[in-house]
Structure formats: C-alpha cells, structure tokens
C-alpha cells in the first residue's frame, strides 16, 4: 500500500506515492535524490538529517513518509539561491567550520532556523541551538564562530 503525499520541498510542489514505513529522510534521499540531508544515527540523536519543516528544525529520520503530507520542507539544497551561498554558508567556508562535511547540512539547517527566529543570538543560544547536532571531526568552536559571524552580519 502506498500513500499519496503532497508537500513543498524548497518551495517546489511535490507529489509522490510512498510506503508507510519509509522515513522522510529516505524519501528525500532515495526517492527524490536530495542527498544533502545525511543519515548518521537514524534515531534522532545526531542531527545529520536536520531539515526545516514548517519553519522548525526537525530530524527527518524520525518522521514517517506519510506524515510529510502538507508540510513545507527546506533542505540544505534550498539555501543557496542562483548559485550564491547564504551568508551563513559563506561564514562556514571562511571559518573552515567543516572538515569531512558530513554534519554540515544539519548544522546549517539548525543554524538557519535559529537565525530566522533570533537574528542576533548570544553565544549560549547558539550552543543550545546546535547541541542536537554532532560533529566528529571539526570540533565545535569554528562552527560556533561561523554562526556568530553570520549573526553579526545580519541586518547590518
């Protein structure tokens, strides 16, 4: 049995038939070929699969495919517009806030959601907002600094 789902992905309407036992993560990666969203733990712990759904960061690995019906979903592929990175992405590059890059899409989505809600977060708020994202290689200092930098440029 497949379920019809309609949702928007990075602003584009999508319509798909999915089995109930797929997750949003699997739909994005395997059905739609949006490979930016990563699978780390698959259990809501590492944040590698973070997307913004209806304006809020969520773990795509613990959302069932049929639950996507009606959602508005943003993935890392939707950040850059017309080939231009967002200031947050630029800050990740200039701070070298990534090494292997596996965790980066998740961090970008968590931080993007934070900066929309709170354009000038304190360092503590940044740390709290990304504490559901794990990075095994870069260490968090550069990631935090990149987000601080992007926040500093916000609205100035």
């Amino acid at each position: 049995m497949k379920y019809q789902i309609r949702f928007t992905l990075n602003g584009e309407e999508q319509e798909l038939y999915v089995p109930a036992n797929y997750t949003m993560l699997r739909v994005l990666r395997d059905e739609l070929n949006f490979m930016g969203t990563k699978e780390g733990c698959g259990a809501g712990e590492c944040g590698a699969c973070t997307v913004i759904a209806d304006g809020r960061p969520v773990n795509a690995c613990i959302v069932l495919a049929p639950e996507m019906d009606g959602m508005s979903i943003e993935t890392v592929e939707g950040l850059a517009k017309d080939g231009r990175l967002t200031p947050l992405q630029e800050a990740f590059v200039s701070h070298a806030a990534l090494q292997c890059g596996f965790c980066t899409p998740g961090f970008l989505m968590s931080a993007t959601a934070l900066l929309r809600e709170n354009p000038h977060p304190a360092r503590e708020e940044i740390i709290r907002a990304i504490s559901g994202n794990l990075c095994r290689c870069t260490g968090y200092v550069r990631i935090i600094e990149a987000i601080e930098d992007a926040a500093r440029d916000n609205g100035q």
């Binding site: 049995m1 379920y3 089995p19 109930a20 036992n21 997750t23 698959g42 259990a43 809501g44 712990e45 944040g47 973070t50 809020r56 960061p57 969520v58 773990n59 690995c61 613990i62 959302v63 069932l64 049929p66 639950e67 019906d69 968590s110 709290r128 907002a129 504490s131 559901g132 994202n133």
Partner: protein, 277 residues
C-alpha cells in the same frame, strides 16, 4: 522497518473506531520520537499506525480557570515555552526543555512521553509531583496509577489519552536531571522536589520501574519547618525509599548517591527561599 498501514483520523470518534478495530495490533503516533525508533529497531511491529496529529479535538496547552491542560498534541517545545507554565511551574517547563534536542522537542509530545512510560521519562517527575491526572476519552486516572511498570500503562487497547490535567496549585521547587551530557541524553537520575505550603512532594525517575513519589520522605517533612537536620534525615530516607538498578548509564550505588544529593540540594534551595515559583 516492517510495513504497516498508516491512518490519520480527523476526529476522535474515527480514531476510537480504528482503535477498536485493531486492538493491540495498532500503535498511536504523535511526535514519533519513541514510536519511529521502536519501529525501526523492530521492538514493535504493529499492523497499523494511527497518527493522532490530525484529530481536531486534540489540542496543545490550554490554561483555563481551574487547570493546566496539556493536550495530546502538545510538543515539548510548546510546553517548555508556554508563558503560564513558565510562570507557575517553571520546573515542568525546565523538564520539557531538557528532553532530547531542539529538533526532537519540535516533534516529541509530553503526552507521548508519559504514554511511553519509560522509568526515566523527563516530564514524569514534575507531573507526579503535581498530582497530574491522565485523561482519556473514557476516564481520568491519577498519573501514578496510569504508569504501571516499565513501558506499561493502564491504557486500554480501545482508549486514547486526550491530555493531562494539572489542577492549579501554588508550589515552588525545582527539576534536576543528571545525565552524562547536558543535551540529547537520557536521564541517569531525574527528580522534582516541590513545596506547597507546608507540605512537600518528592518524585524521582530512573530509580525504579516507574517514576516514584517518595511518600515516606514526604511524611517526614510535612507540616514542619525545614531545618538542616531535617533535610539530612530526608536525604537518608529518600535513599532508602528508591529501588534503582545498575545499567549502562550508572551503577546502583551512584544512583543512590544522586538521590541523596538531589534531595539535600533541592530541599536546601527551598529552605533558602530559592527556586521561587
């Protein structure tokens, strides 16, 4: 994960007839932070998943004249950020804000946390201390009778929890979570210690098969002013009243020490007028 049928009823009566149709072979889905993981790990293999998020009658937080109502659709984030909850029961908001990560709190629900009935559920101890009442389509059950054992509740296969009711009360106190990492971690021990007038309420999680109210320790404290000596007595009593086990997160001895420490610390804060509600 094994396949299943997915239903998203839009009314409570539709959901109840699905419950009646499937009985034990259906599972209710709210935020999915427990259910999806249990599906994935093959801990459950239901014939059907009933998503309750489309049910119009189910709500989020409602603060009315007599009660705080935590509707079945209330996410941890909503509970943690609700202004009335923050004002009247900051320890409950604190507990909700310590569950999982920001991403998880946008999905996970408080009612789901209780229905899942883990002994270490973070919102369990504040709700036990507040004498919260679990409300289903059919009846009201005091929370400490609702959770019966590790991952067992008294919910019948044809019932649905519509929300949790907390009668308004004046109290102050604090929630404590001891875990290896401050976010995205399970509690090694969690607790809520409250004072309401001259009575005290102590509840602990991860120290027995269900969250526990420490009635004997409470009786020792009730009606008397807090003194350093009485706090010492209470700390020893609390230690004797819990029944922890050793597991991957901590040993039995460590948990007993933490129960003693939390009791001493939280009561001392109350004595010194801290943790104001």
């Amino acid at each position: 994960m094994k396949n299943f049928l997915y239903h998203k009823p839009t009314t409570l009566s539709e959901a109840l007839s699905l419950r009646a149709r499937y009985g034990q072979s259906a599972v209710l889905l709210a935020g999915g932070s427990d259910v999806v993981i249990q599906l994935r790990e093959h801990l459950i293999a239901p014939e059907a998943v009933i998503d309750i998020k489309g049910i119009a009658e189910l709500t989020g937080v409602v603060w009315d004249e007599h009660n705080l109502w935590i509707g079945a659709k209330t996410t941890m984030r909503e509970l943690a950020e609700h202004p009335e909850v923050l004002r009247a029961y900051p320890f409950l908001a604190d507990a909700a804000s310590r569950v999982g990560s920001k991403q998880l709190r946008n999905r996970a629900t408080c009612v789901g946390n209780i229905v899942n009935a883990s002994p270490l559920c973070d919102t369990g101890t504040p709700l036990y201390a507040l004498d919260a009442v679990v409300v289903t389509n059919a009846r009201e059950i005091p929370i400490c009778e609702f959770i019966t054992f590790v991952r067992r509740t008294s919910l019948a296969a044809d019932e649905i929890v519509t929300g949790i009711r907390v009668p308004h009360q004046n109290c102050k106190g604090e929630f404590t979570k001891i875990s290896r990492r401050s976010e995205v971690d399970l509690s090694t021990v969690c607790a809520t210690v409250l004072q309401a007038g001259d009575s005290y309420r102590l509840s602990f999680g991860a120290v027995a098969p269900t969250p526990l109210r420490l009635r004997e320790t409470e009786a020792l404290l009730n009606g008397k002013p807090l003194t350093a000596a009485r706090i010492e007595q209470a700390a020893i009593s609390a230690r004797a009243e819990v029944k922890p086990i050793s597991d991957i997160r901590a040993s039995l001895e460590y948990r007993l020490d933490m129960v003693e420490l939390i009791t001493r610390r939280s009561l001392t804060n109350l004595m010194n007028g801290g943790s104001e509600a």
